[in-house]
Symmetry: C2
Subunit: 392 residues, 2 copies
């Protein structure tokens, strides 16, 4: 119930966005690039209207005309429309517990460039780490086309209004003025202050886009991000649910049993310990042990899966989604986690008999939060193309 008066111009802006999204959406679904006529048919707008809007978008650099394909049937051949290659891009960045990275994505969703540095950042110095990230951004910014915006995914609670990272338990960071530090380290980030968000939230955005491309129209799911910590994010009808301050999804800090949080039971370190491995052994060691069928490892995963399932059952009871998506490290462990999670869901979710719970593995590729951040910024263009027409 947006309380804005709709003037004549609003109409045009709305339809401009509609046309742009229609062209890019059809592309996403692996259909051939649409023509002006296709767009008119899909939107219900008159051909003349679509032509005018498309012309404006092409002139503004938000759409491109392709060379006509070899015509198959009678009639004047259509001019196919697509996203312009590499004219507009966004940079998604991420600092997580065991890596940090930068990724450039354009309007078509293509990854143009990326830099990833794997290091253990637990207890690291925020200033130094942010300086590294800033320099990675500068490395890619040179080759990048004109920027829509930037985003930074963090494993913690972020204050989006002030640009301060409030708390990242697994990094050991607290009240870090991330935006300021980055703007000093990188002219690019100074010019385009990053949108700060939780890692799981942005990963879920990428997952939503991936599922859209895979054919799910407006997917609804709970994304569970197992990194060193455990985060989650809810997507409903393709829309991310962020809560009041964007702090939704902290399942990891949910209490599962006798005062212990889920992270203390099913976090990576806890699983390693329960499997009888050294804390520093890493995920690979756990996967290897489980693959060899070692009872200590599979048993630990069973216990972790049950706890995860219980925590997720509580979440599902409260937010009502039936599709759970395992991402991050949980994606690699899905083979062993799925069954105990499903069992917990079936027995604790009140609505389970009428909405059979599903547990899927994430479709989005490696390090989805960086992609998700970039997509979030690119989404601003789709939402309101008029703002991006003339000025680059």
């Amino acid at each position: 119930m947006r309380a804005t008066a709709a003037r004549q111009g609003s109409l045009r802006e709305h339809n401009l966005g509609l046309v742009l999204r229609t062209v890019l959406d059809v592309r996403a679904a692996h259909e051939p690039p649409p023509s002006r006529a296709d767009v008119a048919a899909a939107t219900g707008l008159a051909k003349a209207t679509v032509s005018a809007l498309v012309d404006r978008l092409v002139a503004g650099g938000l759409l491109a005309e392709l060379a006509p394909a070899a015509p198959l049937r009678a009639g004047r051949p259509a001019v196919p429309l697509t996203a312009p290659t590499a004219t507009l891009a966004a940079i998604g960045t991420e600092i997580n517990v065991d890596y940090l990275g930068v990724r450039v994505v354009d309007l078509a969703g293509t990854v143009l460039d990326e830099r990833i540095a794997r290091t253990d950042l637990r207890g690291s110095d925020p200033a130094a780490t942010l300086a590294v990230l800033g320099s990675l951004v500068e490395e890619v910014a040179g080759t990048a086309p004109s920027l829509v915006g930037t985003a930074l995914a963090l494993p913690g609670l972020v204050d989006r209004s002030s640009g301060v990272l409030r708390l990242a338990p697994n990094l050991g960071w607290r009240d870090v003025d991330v935006t300021r530090a980055l703007s000093e380290a990188s002219p690019t980030l100074a010019a385009h202050p990053p949108m700060l968000a939780n890692e799981a939230d942005l990963a879920a955005r990428a997952e939503s886009a991936a599922r859209h491309v895979a054919g799910q129209d407006r997917p609804s799911f709970l994304y569970v991000s197992g990194e060193i910590g455990i985060g989650s994010a809810l997507v409903l009808d393709g829309e991310l649910f962020g809560g009041r301050h964007g702090w939704a999804g902290e399942v990891g800090h949910t209490v599962v049993a006798d005062g212990r949080t889920l992270e203390q039971v099913a976090g990576q370190d806890a699983m390693l310990r329960a499997a009888g491995l050294e804390p520093g052994a890493g995920l690979d060691a756990l996967v290897a042990a489980a693959e060899r069928g070692r009872a200590s490892a599979t048993g630990a995963l069973e216990v972790a899966g049950s706890a995860l399932g219980l925590a997720l059952a509580n979440v599902v009871n409260v937010v009502d989604v039936s599709d759970l998506v395992l991402g991050g490290t949980y994606a690699r462990l899905a083979r062993w986690l799925r069954e105990p999670v499903l069992a917990a869901l079936r027995s604790h979710v009140l609505a389970a008999p009428w909405a059979e719970p599903h547990v899927d593995v994430a479709l989005a590729g490696e390090l989805p939060a960086m992609t998700g951040g970039a997509l979030a910024q690119l989404g601003r263009v789709l939402a309101d193309p008029a703002d991006w027409l003339s000025e680059p």
Copy 2:
């Protein structure tokens, strides 16, 4: 991202709704009824446009002109606009564990009529109970102005597409075709099939409206409904969050400790038992005992409050709201529950230091779910007034 082409008419419909909502909203905030000029100033629309739209709304019966108030200052006196009295109404109904009722509410939010029957409906016969509800609806339908729609609040899981009540644990009902039974019992409900929804969801709508009237513009809160069972509903920026199927908010069936659900620890029966009272003693007995300071009662409430607080902390970690509203029986117990709930929130909510949790008592009046159901139906008129202009 609604995928609809905006034609010229969409503009008009949008602004028509905007004008209607502006008039009713200003009324809600206890300001004097606005004139056409006030609406123009508030919306940013031109005076001429507002006049045209208001005229249409008045002609269609969705707005009414009042007699000009005694003018206070120079200038032509304004014509005040309000909701028309008793021309359009909705019926909200409810079946709960210990009562059932019917309420008629008009566009101005005034309760025009109601019938409430208090009985214990645990293990009752669905057909008989629904027949009683149907007859109550018929009683009030005669006097009611033209109907926008009807709603039915139920303490359980409802399948809104098929109109079947899937499960109401505390009634002992399962897979009851409520819509069909009611349409046979009541011609009014046959003509206006009720919107089925969870009791807590509709109560939260009423609470949202009450908070809006109280001056909170677009309130965000988690409503916790303590009836015989425990339900909850999330309102974000004035909008109810229902989840995928409308089954969100089942905190009562959340697991809090060693496999026990919240209802088994903090439900009304559990509290009575813990306080050493008979299960049938009722809420009044518990309140009386607590007021007399009996340790068994206050102790039981302390325990229940802690469990409730823990469950709510888990919810808050996942959905990120900081205002909790105690409704239903919990409103009467708030004096004793508030502190333990707050304590649990402070220690278990990750974001608590940056978003101080609040625990309020519900503002909406008695049996808010009935009001909320009616308001939900009336909201359809506000959302799209064009549909309701000519035909009644």
